[in-house]
């Protein structure tokens, strides 16, 4: 006979303000099989948990229902409390009467009735719960880091320095990411490359790090501790082991007028190229789309001059399979391109550029060697208009959210411009200045007060060309919404920071969720900001939301710490909420008839064929078997099984069936 304890939480007043908790407790007490029913102000507090533990011991409870908040919040808390008394933790269930009841309904009888319904449902479930034993799975102590920007670099180094192997995958020919493109960094104005390149070199030389540059994740299967990743190493057209990075090929390549990605389209590069001089690895790659040989079948100049005969025109993409125990996703962000603000002339006028392009103009390694010269004619601009919030915080035409980094880098840009062009007139059009951060507000003040940047609070309506000038029409909302017209030489748009173009596809490969803007979703916005909802996959940097460098680095170190913690044990304990196939003594053996429809339904290839043989070795029947290491517990197989031979622990046929009946049979509450 079941002896169930029901524990009803007031959650301060979060529940008790709309639900009559006393009535719920009284009703629960009348449910057959309920041996104990109490309510308490904060069930999750220490004294609250003690109530549960004492009752288990004193009343000999065989199951526990905590009617409180979402199981996503405190299920582990109460299961742990149960386990401390020796009650199997899987005999504890949460009845969610807060998120699904008290918070979403008005105070009244109907709300209390519903809370009672929920409690009755979970009591019916817990009566069918079975004691389950956790599953031990081995952990492969190798981390996969996807993305070699500053976040990926930091995470790789931290994990590697903790003594674990790291496989770092970077899509581009070199690691470095957006940070390597930047000129100076706010709020210190130190040179971006000067602080980044030592880290890049450290990655290249670290004995624990295997770097796959110019490579992408093909697929990821498995689960925490036991992932199998397939990595596509795109053909560089080069034998990296032979290449010494001498650069002869890149100097001699006859196809030289290709807009370079690293210079955000402002500079030119050859068809065989290293993205930038400090690239890691410092090995070129042939851009097959532009290379004369691939286009016409003639040339092969690089092959001829290469001193080590490293060029391989017939190289194919290579798929590398690796086993890893954890994944850090650090794929970064992109800026919004295209014509979402056609009235600003971005893409139409060469002198309307984005922030990243300005970084290249201001960078000593950039196409102008650090001199601010406008792209159209190379003239040093006398007036520059910087437009903050070009697309950000604009639900009508752009995106709703704040891109977070633009206020700071726009201030930096204006400052850099003033430092480099002394007589120049910088204007910044802004909505608000968001300079929360150590030394950030001071930095913006400095731009306004010391460097004479003219900040105009207002938006611009359009930019058009007139007599060789860019006419910027806007309004100064602080001075009586006075319309303004500025004749500028260069317009810099701080276009919105958005997710990487392939983010959605990558999320689907990784089985992690993403938000409406395709940024990857953290497991909890406050308490689990570096985890995803998929165990063993962590987030670092701007792939989760726009972030500046210090934040990206901090999150990367956080993710690395999570990985290191995971790798601190050689075995991992998994919840046993997995599918199992019926087994019985002979002569039945199993009710499974071996149709294996479940096998084609399983997303994890967790269903195997098992041959049941008699003592004489004669095959009696072939039935399904679930590999407990691979099964993730989705239960899709369960719904396909006609003989109900597969069941899923924790959401078993008996449990869910009992829930449906109990939920709908209010009449039996008092019975």
């Amino acid at each position: 006979m079941a002896r169930i304890g029901v524990f009803i939480c007031h959650c301060g007043e979060n529940i008790s303000a709309t639900v009559d908790v006393k009535q719920v407790a009284a009703a629960a007490a009348r449910i057959p099989g309920v041996a104990h029913s109490v309510e308490y102000k904060y069930m999750c507090s220490d004294p609250g948990q003690q109530l549960v533990k004492d009752a288990i011991r004193e009343k000999g409870l065989t199951g526990v229902v905590v009617a409180a908040c979402s199981p996503r919040m405190h299920e582990p808390t109460f299961r742990r409390a149960c386990a401390e008394t020796g009650l199997n933790p899987f005999l504890c269930e949460m009845a969610n009467i807060r998120e699904h009841c008290s918070w979403v309904h008005e105070k009244g009888d109907a709300t209390t009735e519903k809370a009672i319904d929920i409690v009755r449902t979970l009591v019916a479930k817990v009566k069918k719960n079975k004691a389950l034993q956790p599953i031990q799975v081995p952990v492969t102590k190798v981390a996969l880091v996807i993305g070699g920007g500053i976040a990926g670099i930091q995470a790789s180094l931290d994990i590697a320095n903790a003594g674990h192997r790291v496989i770092l995958v970077e899509r581009e020919p070199s690691i470095g990411g957006h940070m390597s493109q930047l000129s100076e960094t706010f709020p210190t104005l130190d040179c971006s490359q000067c602080i980044l390149t030592p880290r890049m070199v450290e990655v290249a030389q670290h004995p624990n790090i295997t770097l796959y540059s110019y490579a992408e994740l093909e697929s990821l299967d498995g689960f925490i501790g036991n992932f199998k990743a397939r990595i596509r190493r795109k053909a560089r057209s080069l034998d990296e082991t032979l290449c010494t990075g001498c650069g002869l090929c890149t100097q001699k390549c006859p196809t030289r007028k290709i807009p370079g990605e690293f210079d955000a389209g402002l500079g030119l590069r050859p068809a065989i190229y290293v993205p930038f001089p400090q690239a890691v690895p410092n090995k070129p790659v042939i851009d097959r789309e532009h290379c004369t040989y691939y286009r016409t079948g003639k040339c092969r100049l690089c092959e001829k001059i290469c001193p080590t005969q490293a060029i391989r025109f017939d190289q194919l993409d290579e798929i590398v399979e690796v086993e890893v125990g954890a994944v850090v996703v650090a794929t970064g962000f992109d800026i919004k391109h295209g014509d979402f603000f056609p009235e600003y002339g971005y893409g139409k006028y060469p002198d309307v550029i984005d922030g990243l392009q300005f970084e290249r103009l201001a960078s000593a390694s950039g196409p102008t060697l650090g001199e601010i010269r406008r792209p159209s004619d190379g003239k040093v601009p006398e007036t520059v208009v910087f437009v903050a919030c070009a697309g950000s915080r604009d639900p009508a035409k752009g995106i709703e959210y704040c891109s977070k980094i633009c206020c700071m880098y726009t201030a930096k840009h204006a400052m850099l411009y003033r430092h480099k062009v002394h007589g120049g007139k910088p204007y910044v059009f802004y909505m608000d200045i968001r300079a929360g951060g150590k030394m950030y507000e001071e930095f913006v003040r400095r731009a306004m007060e010391e460097d004479g940047v003219q900040y105009v609070r207002g938006r611009i309506s359009r930019v058009f060309e007139r007599d060789g000038k860019l006419v910027v029409k806007g309004a100064d909302t602080l001075l009586g919404a006075r319309p303004m017209e500025i004749e500028a030489d260069l317009v810099v748009l701080a276009t919105a920071a958005v997710a990487q173009p392939g983010a959605e596809e990558l999320a689907q490969k990784l089985h992690v969720s993403y938000d409406a803007h395709r940024f990857f979703s953290e497991a909890h916005p406050k308490l689990r900001p570096v985890e995803t909802n998929t165990a063993g996959i962590f987030l670092a940097g701007a792939c989760q939301a726009p972030k500046d460098i210090p934040e990206s680095v901090a999150q990367a170190s956080g993710a690395a710490a999570k990985v290191a913690a995971l790798f601190s044990r050689s075995e991992l304990v998994r919840e046993p909420l997995i599918a199992v196939v019926d087994r019985q003594p002979p002569p039945v053996y199993s009710s499974c008839v071996g149709c294996f429809l479940c096998q084609s339904a399983c997303p994890y290839q967790a269903i195997e064929k098992e041959e049941i043989r008699g003592r004489d070795g004669q095959l009696i029947k072939t039935v399904a078997r679930v590999n407990p290491g691979l099964c993730q517990g989705c239960g899709t197989c369960v719904a396909f099984c006609r003989t109900k031979s597969i069941d899923i622990q924790g959401f078993s046929h008996e449990q869910v069936h009992a829930e449906v009946l109990a939920l709908l049979n209010r009449g039996e509450r008092d019975a």
Binding site: P32, P585, P586, P587, L661, G667, E668, A671
Partner: protein, 340 residues
Amino acid sequence: METEKRSIQREALAKLIEQWCREGKRVLAPRKSGDKVDFDRVTSLSEVSFDHVQTVQSPKSAVFPRVEELFSFRSADGQVEVRDRELDILPETVVFGLRPCDAAAFAALEAIFNWDAPDRLFTARRARTTLVAVACSRADEYCFCTSVGGGPGAVAGSDILLTDLGQGEFLAEIASAKGREMLQAADSLFGPALDADKESRLAKPAAVFAADAVAAVLAGLFADTAFWEEQSRRCVGCGACAYVCPTCACFDIQDEGGASGKRLRCWDSCGFGLFTLHTSGHNPRPLQSQRWRQRLMHKFSYMPERQGVLGCVGCGRCSRGCPVDMNILEHLRAIAEARP
């Protein structure tokens, strides 16, 4: 009791049915629906089929419904309250137009349900049921009543047996006290006995085997596995034969509901693989051949031995209803001819 002979005209028969209905009786009679004829509730003679050979189902559901509530229960405050079925609300029923073989089948049902402890519900229903049979003017290749002690004009089992004499006239043989009661309640509708040749109106199904000979052979045939496998190879193991059979009485007990609910008696069949499955997983009759053997043994060997009646009246329904043409007559002939 002496059988009293009277006559009744078709028009009077119609009035008789209307009278029964007026008296609140449930009248079940063969009725045509699509290409099948089956027992159904009727309120007038025009709904009743006469020209069929046999209905799909037997009339046994009048006394042994396919689902019957035995009692209801309710648990509250740790107490369980059980409520028996009220017997007086069971309907007075007239089964009209059943065949003499069907009428004879009630004796087999009575023998089973009252074998040791009398079955309250069955007995109450049976007591409220009157059988007004119609003799067979046609038989088909599946009929074999004459091999099992019955006949197309046999009176045994009927309360009243009607024989169609042509021109809208029926011979009415009143064969029981219940029949007499029925006659008395509507005496004016019946005419005097007619001098007619009943036999000439009847079908003539041939007698194919002797039931006691079959019983004798079966007694020694139990262990002849090869025989039964050969006999049953075509059988797919459904319950159609048992469910249409007028004498099959196996049932299963099911509880429905949670803390309050009903206990139900539902038809079951020995042809199902799970019929004899034990909780342990052991099944004493795992093969269809064994289940087929059980069906024949039960009807032709065990029942005569234990209850003193045959478990078969030769209606042929099981053969007609079988999806794979397991024609019982052929099998019985094979048994009679078998020499174990």
